[in-house]
C-alpha cells in the first residue's frame, strides 16, 4: 500500500530534466581518478595537494598531479561518509566548530578510506593559499607536518571594502613576488623545470574552459532556465582540478550544445510552464543532501544562478609576457566572487539579480565557512531594500549532515516560497 502511494506520489512529482550529456561528467572524473592513480604509482611523477583559489594551472604546467582534499571531502559527503569521518576527527581532538571539509579530509587520510569514498593519498608537496579562508592553510599545514611533506603557502592580501587602485596594485605586487618563491619551491622539491611553451598552452586551455562555463552562464539567463544549480553543482568539477586540460573542455562543449538546443526550442530544465520562481543560491551546497536542490522543483523553483560555481571561471586576459600573466592571475586570485568583500558582493549580487531575473535569494549561512557567512545579514538587507525580493538565510553546513534539520529547513523554504509568490502579486 505504502509502495503504491509512493509510486503515485512520484508520478506527481515535478522532476528536473537533466541534459543529455550530463552523464558524460563521468569521463573527466574517470580521467582525473586514473591520472591520480598513475601519478601516485610512478616514482618519477609528482603529486600535490591544492585548494580552491590556488592557481591549479601551475601544477599542470609542471606536470604535477593536483590532488584536492576539498573535492575529496565533497565526494565523501556525497557517498554518505562525511559524518563518520567528521566524528572520527572530533575524536582526534578537532572541535565541533571547525570546518567540516577539513575534518572530513583529516579523518579520510587517518582512516585510509578508499578514493571512491573520498580517500586521499600522501602527496609530494602541499601548496595552498589563504585567499578563501585561513582554514585552508591551517589544515594544509597541519597535514603537511603530519605527513612530513614540504609545505608552501601563498599569502593573499585582503581586498576589503573601499580598497583603492593603488593599494590593489601593491597587493598584486606582493602576490607576484610569491609566484617566484613558489616556482623556486616547486623546482626544489620536485626537480621539475618551467617549460614556457607548456605554460602558455595550459593557460590557453584554462581560458577556454573558463570561457565555456561563462558562456553556459549566459544561456542560464534564458526563461525558462535551461540548467539548474542542482546540475552545475556537480558538472563544474573540471573547473576545480582540470583547468588547462582538454578533457574538461570536451565535456563543457557538449553541455553548451545541449543548452543551446534547449533554449532554441524555448524549453527549460523544468517541465513546460512549471518554472515559477527563479532563485539565486549563495554558498556551498549541502553535499550530503544534494536532493535539496532538486526538491525545490516541487515548488516551481529553480536555481538559476549561483556565485559559487561561477567563481571558478573568472574572465582571463590574454597576456603576452610572464609578468603580465602573473599579475593577471594574482588579481584573479583576489577577485573570486566567493570571497568578494561586502560592498562588491552587494553590487554584484544586485547586478546578477537583474541579469538572471531572480525572484528570491537563498543565502547558505555555512557554519563551516565563517568568511562566507560574515556580512550575510547586511547582504540580505541590501537585496531586500534595493531589489524588493525575499531573501532566505539558511544556517546549515556543507559537509556535516548533523547540521541539517529536515523539518526546519522545509518549513523555512515553504515560507520563502510564499513570500516569492506574494511578491509576484505586487
Amino acid at each position: 500500500m505504502a509502495k503504491t502511494n509512493n509510486s503515485a506520489e512520484n508520478d506527481r512529482k515535478i522532476k528536473l530534466k537533466t541534459l543529455p550529456h550530463a552523464k558524460d561528467l563521468k569521463w573527466p572524473m574517470l580521467w582525473w581518478f586514473t591520472m591520480g592513480s598513475i601519478y601516485h604509482a610512478l616514482p618519477w611523477k609528482k603529486t600535490a595537494w591544492t585548494c580552491a583559489a590556488f592557481p591549479i594551472e601551475l601544477m599542470w604546467i609542471y606536470d604535477i598531479f593536483p590532488d584536492h582534499p576539498e573535492n575529496m571531502a565533497t565526494v565523501a559527503a556525497a557517498r554518505k561518509q562525511s559524518q563518520r569521518l567528521i566524528e572520527h576527527a572530533e575524536g582526534m581532538g578537532y572541535s565541533r566548530d571547525l570546518c567540516s571539509y577539513c575534518k572530513t579530509s583529516i579523518a579520510a587520510y587517518d582512516t585510509k578510506i578508499k578514493k571512491t569514498l573520498g580517500g586521499i593519498s600522501k602527496p609530494d608537496i602541499v601548496v595552498c593559499t589563504n585567499a578563501i579562508c585561513d582554514t585552508h592553510w591551517k589544515w594544509f599545514q597541519i597535514m603537511a607536518d603530519k605527513m612530513n611533506v614540504p609545505f608552501f603557502m601563498f599569502d593573499i592580501p585582503k581586498w576589503v571594502s573601499g580598497t583603492d587602485e593603488k593599494t590593489l596594485q601593491g597587493n598584486i605586487d606582493y602576490v607576484v613576488e610569491q609566484f617566484y618563491d613558489l616556482i623556486v619551491f616547486i623546482e626544489k622539491h620536485t626537480g621539475k623545470k618551467m617549460d614556457e611553451k607548456r605554460l602558455y598552452k595550459v593557460l590557453d586551455k584554462s581560458t577556454e574552459l573558463s570561457d565555456l562555463w561563462r558562456e553556459i552562464f549566459e544561456h542560464r539567463k534564458a526563461v525558462p532556465s535551461p540548467y539548474s544549480g542542482a546540475e552545475t553543482s556537480a558538472s563544474f568539477f573540471p573547473l576545480v582540478v582540470l583547468p588547462g586540460v582538454q578533457v574538461g573542455i570536451n565535456f563543457f562543449k557538449k553541455i553548451l550544445a545541449d543548452i543551446k538546443n534547449l533554449t532554441a526550442k524555448g524549453e527549460g530544465t523544468m517541465p513546460k510552464d512549471k518554472e515559477k520562481y527563479r532563485v539565486m543560491w549563495e554558498g556551498i551546497p549541502f553535499w550530503y543532501r544534494m536532493r535539496f536542490m532538486y526538491d525545490l522543483a516541487q515548488y516551481g523553483a529553480v536555481i538559476t544562478f549561483e556565485p559559487y560555481t561561477y567563481s571558478f571561471a573568472p574572465e582571463k586576459k590574454k597576456c603576452n609576457t610572464m609578468e603580465e600573466t602573473l599579475r593577471d592571475v594574482a588579481k584573479l586570485i583576489m577577485d573570486t566572487p566567493y570571497a568578494y568583500n561586502l560592498e562588491r558582493r552587494i553590487e554584484h549580487f544586485e547586478k546578477w539579480i537583474d541579469e538572471y531575473k531572480i525572484d528570491g535569494v537563498i543565502l547558505h549561512e555555512n557554519m563551516s565557512c565563517r568568511p562566507s557567512s560574515a556580512g550575510m545579514v547586511d547582504l540580505a538587507e541590501a537585496i531586500m531594500r534595493d531589489k524588493g525580493i525575499p531573501v532566505l538565510i539558511l544556517q546549515c553546513d556543507m559537509n556535516d549532515p548533523r547540521a541539517y534539520s529536515e523539518g526546519q529547513i522545509k518549513t523555512r523554504v515553504e515560507g520563502f516560497i510564499e513570500l516569492m509568490e506574494a511578491n509576484k502579486g505586487k
Partner: protein
C-alpha cells in the same frame, strides 16, 4: 582634522600585529579594543550570527557605543574573519578614520617588502587625515617608549613565578598597558614592580601553569583558574607575553626596526608556522619549570582550535602535563570547566594525570 592631545586611536587586532609606534608617532594613544564581557552583545548580534567569536562581537558592541570617543579605528589583518569584520564595521560604525592595515602572514623577503608598503600607506593616510607629519624621529621616540614598557612588563611578568601575584593582577596590568597613554602606564609600571616585589613568596598551595591558546580579555576567567589552585606564571598570549617577549631592535631606519620586530615576535595561531609557535612555548617551558600547561580556546576561535591538536600533542610528547578546554566568552563561572580543572590539579597532586 585636529588632534586632541592624548586622544585615543583605537585598533582592532586579534593578536599583536598593529604597529602601535606609528599611532604613537602620530600623537595618539593606541587603544586596543578589547570589548566588555559584562555588556550584552545584542548590538553586534544584529550583524553577526551565533557562530561567530564572542570576543569579536564584544569589540563591535564596544565600537558601536564608543567610536565617537576615538579619533579613528585601524584594523590589523589577524584571524580568518578580520577583513569581513572590517567590511561590517565600515557600514555600521561611525568613525572619521577607518584604515585597513594588511599585516602579512608570512615573514619572507616578499612579505617584508609588502609590510613596508603597508606601513607607508598607513603613515600617509594618517598624515593626510590629521594634517600631521610622522617623521623618522617621532617613530624612533615611539620605539624607545614602547621598549621601555616592554622591558618593565618583562620584569613584572617574571615576578609571577616568584611572588604571590593573583592571576587577575597580571591580566589587569596587561589591559592597562594596552589601553592607556604610554607615559602614564610607564610610571604606573614602576610603582607596580615595586609593589609586586614586596609581596610574599609564591604560595605553596598553588600549581604553576603555562597558559596558551585564545587571548583572555577579562579577569573573571583568571579568577576561575585561581580558584582551581592554578597560577599562570608563563603564557604565549597576545594580551600577555607576546606583547613584550622581544624588543624592537635599534636600526637606522625606524621602519626597518618595526618590520624586523613585528615579523619576529613569537607567532600566534594566526601566523605560520606551528613549529615557530611551539619554539616559543619550548623556550618558555625551558626557562620556567611549570607543573602543567593549560590550553584554552574561546568558543568559535578557529586558529587556536586548529593549533590545539598538534600543539598539545607535541607538548604531551615532550612529557608536559596538558589540559585543553573550550570556554564561552562570558564572565559567568562555568562550574563544569572548574571541576575539570580541579580534577586535573588533584590528579597532579597524586601524580596520576596520565
Amino acid at each position: 582634522m585636529k588632534i586632541i592631545k592624548a586622544q585615543k586611536l583605537a585598533y582592532f587586532d586579534t593578536s599583536h600585529e598593529m604597529p602601535l609606534e606609528i599611532i604613537m608617532a602620530a600623537g595618539f594613544t593606541p587603544y586596543k579594543i578589547l570589548g566588555d564581557v559584562h555588556q550584552s552583545n545584542d548590538p553586534a548580534d544584529k550583524h553577526l550570527s551565533n557562530f561567530f567569536c564572542g570576543a569579536a562581537k564584544s569589540w563591535l558592541t564596544e565600537a558601536l557605543a564608543r567610536s565617537k570617543e576615538w579619533a579613528g579605528i585601524i584594523f590589523a589583518q589577524g584571524c580568518n574573519n578580520t577583513n569581513r569584520h572590517y567590511d561590517i564595521w565600515k557600514v555600521h560604525v561611525q568613525t572619521p578614520f577607518l584604515h585597513w592595515f594588511g599585516a602579512p602572514l608570512l615573514d619572507s623577503d616578499a612579505a617584508k617588502k609588502y609590510y613596508r608598503v603597508e606601513l607607508q600607506r598607513l603613515i600617509s593616510h594618517l598624515e593626510n587625515q590629521f594634517n600631521i607629519k610622522i617623521t623618522p624621529e617621532k617613530i624612533r621616540e615611539a620605539i624607545i617608549k614602547s621598549n621601555e614598557i616592554k622591558k618593565k612588563l618583562q620584569r613584572l611578568s617574571a615576578l609571577r613565578a616568584q611572588k604571590d601575584i593573583p592571576n587577575r593582577d597580571y591580566l589587569a596590568a596587561m589591559i592597562k598597558c594596552l589601553t592607556n597613554p604610554v607615559d602614564e602606564v610607564s610610571a604606573w609600571l614602576d610603582s607596580e614592580i615595586a609593589a609586586w616585589n614586596s609581596k610574599p613568596s609564591f604560595p605553596s598551595g598553588k600549581k604553576q601553569f603555562l597558559l596558551t591558546g585564545s587571548d583572555i580579555t577579562y579577569v573573571e576567567w583568571m579568577d576561575t583558574l585561581e580558584d582551581c589552585g592554578i597560577r599562570i606564571v608563563r603564557d604565549d598570549l597576545s594580551v600577555g607575553e607576546r606583547f613584550f617577549a622581544t624588543l624592537i631592535p635599534d636600526k637606522s631606519d625606524p621602519l626597518d626596526a618595526l618590520i624586523e620586530y613585528y615579523m619576529n615576535i613569537p607567532k600566534p595561531a594566526t601566523r605560520p608556522t606551528i613549529q615557530k609557535r611551539l619554539d616559543y612555548l619550548y623556550k618558555a617551558l625551558g626557562e620556567t619549570k611549570v607543573d602543567g600547561v593549560l590550553s584554552q580556546n574561546v568558543k568559535f576561535c578557529e586558529p587556536f582550535a586548529y593549533d590545539s591538536v598538534p600543539v598539545n600533542n607535541a607538548l604531551k610528547d615532550k612529557g608536559y602535563k596538558v589540559i585543553h578546554l573550550e570556554r564561552d566568552f562570558s564572565p559567568a563561572a562555568d562550574q563544569q570547566l572548574a571541576n575539570r580543572l580541579m580534577a586535573f590539579v588533584e590528579m597532579m597532586e597524586v601524580g596520576n594525570n596520565g
